[in-house]
C-alpha cells in the first residue's frame, strides 16, 4: 500500500490551482506542483489529478483496471467505480493508442452539459509545434499542438464533437510532471 499526497489539503489545493490555470489557458503545458506516489500503471501526474478531483461523489472508469490501482484510488479518495465509460465522471486512459472512441464517453445533457466524462490521458509527451492548430477561449490567436501516441483518428473524432457543443468532453493530457488541458471550448482550425 502506498501513501498519497503528504499534505492532502494543501497539495490538492495547489494542484487544483494548476488544473484551473491549465483549463483557462488550453493547449499550453503546465508543471504540476506535487507528484504523489502512484501504483505502476498510473502516472504520478494522473494520480495528482485524480487525488485532487475525485471523492465519494465521483465515479471513475479505468481503461486498464490492472494491479492495485483501483484499490489505491479507492483507499485515498473514496471514489466510486463506473462500470461503463458512459457512467463515468472521470476516465483514466493509460493506453491512448487503444482508447475507446470519444463517443463512448458521456457528453452531458443540454440542461446539464457538465454531466460529461472528463478524460485524463497518459501520453508520451506533447509540444507546441507542428501537429494540429487550435483556437478558442484562453488562447491568443492560435496555438500549434502535437500530442504523441494518440490514435490516428483522434483529431477527427475531436473535431466531430464540436457540432454538439455545449455538450462535449474536457480532457487533461499528462506526461512526466506536465499537464495540458483541452476543454470542449477549444476548436480545431483547418490547415
Amino acid at each position: 500500500m502506498l501513501a498519497a499526497f503528504a499534505n492532502p489539503v494543501f497539495d490538492s489545493q495547489r494542484t487544483f490551482r494548476e488544473l484551473l490555470q491549465a483549463m483557462a489557458r488550453p493547449a499550453v503545458p503546465r508543471a504540476l506542483p506535487v507528484l504523489p506516489p502512484a501504483p505502476e500503471s498510473v502516472a504520478p501526474a494522473a494520480m495528482a489529478i485524480l487525488l485532487t478531483l475525485c471523492d465519494a461523489a465521483t465515479a471513475l472508469w479505468l481503461q486498464q483496471p490492472v494491479g492495485n490501482a483501483l484499490e489505491h484510488l479507492r483507499f485515498h479518495t473514496g471514489l466510486r467505480v463506473a462500470q461503463t465509460a458512459k457512467e463515468a465522471d472521470f476516465a483514466l486512459i493509460t493506453a491512448p493508442d487503444a482508447m475507446p472512441s470519444l463517443q463512448s464517453f458521456a457528453q452531458g445533457e443540454l440542461r446539464y452539459p457538465d454531466r460529461s466524462t472528463s478524460l485524463i490521458v497518459q501520453v508520451q509527451g506533447f509540444r507546441n509545434e507542428a501537429g494540429v492548430c487550435v483556437a478558442g477561449p484562453g488562447i491568443r490567436d492560435q496555438e500549434m499542438l502535437h500530442i504523441e501516441g494518440l490514435p490516428a483518428d483522434f483529431w477527427t473524432q475531436r473535431a466531430a464533437l464540436a457540432e454538439s457543443f455545449p455538450l462535449g468532453i474536457d480532457m487533461f493530457f499528462v506526461a512526466e510532471q506536465h499537464v495540458l488541458a483541452l476543454p470542449r471550448t477549444t476548436r480545431l482550425l483547418e490547415h
Binding site: M1, L2, A3, A4, A6
Partner: protein
Amino acid sequence: MDTSPHLARSQWMSLLAQSEPDELALAMKELAPPVDAAWLRPAQTGLYMLRGRMGGNGAQFNFGEITVTRCSVQIGERIGHAWVRGTHARHAELAALADALLQDPSLHARLRTELLEPLLRSLQARRDTASRKAAASKVEFFTVVRGD
C-alpha cells in the same frame, strides 16, 4: 461492545475510538512509535452522514453530519486504521498505531494487558457512574393501594 477478555479487531478498534484521547495518549506513552511507521493516510478530518431510523427501528433517514478523523499507518507488513469521531488528529494517529501494533502477535498480549484492559476498565467505569447517577432519578410511583 463485547467485554470479553479476548477482543476481536473490530472490538479493539471500537475501544480505541471510544477512549478519552488523553487516556489513550498516556497509555501509549511507553510505546515509542516504530521508526519504520509509514503514514499511508495522514490524519484527516471529514464528515460522515449520520443515519437514523423512523420510529427507532423503521426505514432509514439522513439525520445530520458528524466530524470524523481518519488515519492509516503501515508498520512493516501491518496496516493500522483508525476512524474516530471529532477533529482530534492525535487521537486518530494513536488509534491507528495501536491498531497496527495489536495485529503483531509478538506484541498483542502485552498491549492487551497494558493498553486495552485499562482503557476498557476506564470506559466501563465512566459508563457505570453515569448510569448509576441517572438511576438515582428513577421515579418510584406510590399508589393509594400501597397505603403510603
